[in-house]
């Protein structure tokens, strides 16, 4: 495990920034997560993970399957607790979910007894949320962007897998959350829809100043969307490198191809993952 000893250059930069500015929105320090298994031997899913995320930043998390990306995201969402280390959100220790956070799960996870509209409005009808006209108009616009117009009154089983996933993204955005945690949100989509959704997500992010943490298996997607790409090692999950993406915004996917910065980044990530 020489990789872990190697100083992550990106982390240093981010660390200095955090020092010079106010404290980061998310601070994860030396977090360890162990899963007990039925067989008895525990699985070390996260091994001393350190990660700071600034408010307004777009961070992409890449790593081989089973390396602990979802585990890390679940910790940030307040769905799980770490076995060692500390994690905080907006300066407060993370204990339990916060209503300011929107989560897109790896599976669409729509409620089958509700229509698409009822599903995407769910965040506004529970947890003491207020249902404002403005939010509802915004949701209708999002449904249009997600290509779900005309499907508002359909049930999830009447939708394709990709449509369900898009509906779940709209649901995660419904409360206009400050922090958006997305677990492979576009995994189920075809290449073109995926590009379109990436562009939309970039637009929404640029317009709203949200903080986004997005897990992806696609190097292209990570470079297109991220300010910073966090690369994790195979299990036990460690952060092996953080890479800044120095490409101007708004990024356009057709202009990315052949861009030397893009090519160099893609090659570096590929080598880290291999």
């Amino acid at each position: 495990m020489t990789i872990a000893i190697e100083a992550p250059a990106g982390a240093m930069i981010a660390g200095e920034q955090a020092q010079s500015r106010r404290s980061p929105l998310i601070a994860v320090k030396d977090v360890v997560k162990v899963y007990p298994t039925v067989a008895g031997d525990a699985v070390l899913a996260l091994d001393h993970v350190n990660l700071d995320i600034e408010s307004g930043e777009f961070v992409c998390l890449v790593g081989p399957s089973g390396c602990g990306k979802t585990t890390l995201l679940r910790l940030l969402a307040g769905l799980d607790t770490s076995d060692a280390g500390t994690s905080s959100l907006a300066g407060k220790a993370l204990n339990g979910p916060s209503p300011e956070v929107g989560v897109v799960f790896q599976q669409a996870n729509l409620l089958p007894w509700f229509t698409v509209m009822q599903n995407v409005l769910l965040p506004l009808s529970v947890g003491g949320a207020r249902k404002s006209e403005q939010l509802i108009t915004q949701i209708q616009a999002l449904l249009r962007v997600a290509g779900l117009e005309g499907f508002e009154n359909k049930y999830p089983y009447e939708l394709s897998g990709g449509m369900q996933q898009r509906a779940s993204i709209v649901r995660a955005l419904a409360r206009d959350p400050k922090l958006l945690l997305m677990d492979e949100p576009f995994g189920a989509l075809d290449a073109l829809t995926r590009e379109r959704m990436n562009a939309e997500l970039q637009r929404i992010w640029m317009a709203s100043g949200k903080t986004v943490v997005l897990i992806t298996h696609s190097i292209e997607e990570a470079i297109f969307l991220g300010d910073r790409i966090v690369v994790m090692s195979p299990r036990p999950g460690r952060i092996v490198r953080e890479l800044k993406v120095d490409l101007p915004r708004p990024r356009v996917s057709t202009e990315m191809l052949g861009n030397p910065v893009h090519t160099a980044l893609a090659r570096e990530i590929r080598m880290l993952l291999e």
Binding site: A77, P97, P99, V103, N109, L111, P112, G127, Y157, G161
Partner: protein, 285 residues
């Protein structure tokens, strides 16, 4: 031009495919009814032939046509006639339904409590198991002592019998709610009651309907048993009266009336279920 043509063709295709599906369903239904009817006719024929062939006396097993006559004599009277099936059936149904409602609601309530609060589960589970394995009709005499020979004990018996399948099923259904859906509610900071109402209760709906389906038939059974133990009216009384004068055809006719009622109640529950739980068992993509 070509575009429009393809589109209209596509629309035709949609229309014809849904029409074909409807046709297929109808044909299947007609076939099923046909099979059921043929089976029924065979049964009646075998019954008739064996009664004739073995010379069975009618106080042991009446011939089918005697049962039909008995059945008809109870149908072809004014609704308020004391000789008809209507009054006793109404009495039995009213008590069974009242008991069913009470039992089902209590079952849902306690099942929910047990699913929602571990201590309640720990406290109640042993009793639930013990009572579940007890043949509950054996409690009927006790209930008659407590509630008398009137409607009270009939309702109580129906409620008792409807309670258990509902409690067990709603408990199991709520525990079977998918973790991911509960986590979704957690992420949304939903309250416990919101999670119960919007996730756990709908998750349990298929189980709850299975419980209702059992419960409604059990409630009917409970009422009849209570009526056997010396009530004044109801189908159970009609049966004991017929039995007292060895009117076996009358007993059979009463059983037919009860059987048809049970099937109708079951069909009603299934129909309500299909319209409410339409999303169950539809493939996840």
């Amino acid at each position: 031009m070509t575009d429009i043509r393809t589109e209209s063709n596509a629309m035709d295709l949609i229309a014809s495919s849904s029409a074909a599906a409807k046709n297929r369903r109808r044909n299947e239904r007609i076939r099923n009814i046909g099979i059921g009817f043929a089976g029924f006719l065979t049964l009646v024929l075998v019954w008739k032939l064996s009664v004739n062939y073995f010379n069975v006396p009618s106080y042991i097993l009446p011939a089918p046509e005697q049962v039909v006559v008995a059945l008809w004599s109870g149908l072809a009277v004014p609704v308020t006639s004391p000789l008809g099936w209507y009054l006793p059936l109404w009495s039995t149904m009213a008590n069974a339904l009242a008991g069913f409602l009470i039992g089902a609601l209590l079952g849902l309530f306690f099942g929910s409590l047990m699913a929602e609060f571990r201590p309640v589960e720990t406290a109640l589970m042993p009793y639930a198991f013990a009572l579940q394995s007890l043949p509950k009709v054996a409690i009927a005499p006790l209930i008659v002592i407590w509630c008398g020979f009137g409607d009270g004990s009939k309702v109580a018996m129906a409620a008792l019998l409807a309670f258990f399948p509902m409690m067990v099923n709603s408990f199991a259904g709520m525990r079977a709610a998918e973790v991911e859906r509960i986590e979704l509610m957690k992420v949304l900071s939903a309250s416990r009651l919101e999670t119960y109402r919007l996730v756990k209760l709908p998750s349990a709906a298929p189980y709850i309907f299975a419980g209702l389906d059992m419960g409604i038939v059990y409630a009917l059974l409970g009422t009849i048993v209570a009526e056997f133990l010396g009530a004044q009216e109801g189908m159970g009384v009609a049966i004991t009266k017929a039995q007292a004068v060895t009117d076996v055809a009358g007993v059979f006719a009463a059983l037919v009336v009860l059987g048809v009622t049970g099937i109708l109640l079951h069909l009603i529950v299934r129909w309500v279920e299909r319209s409410i739980v339409h999303w169950a068992d539809r493939g996840k993509h």
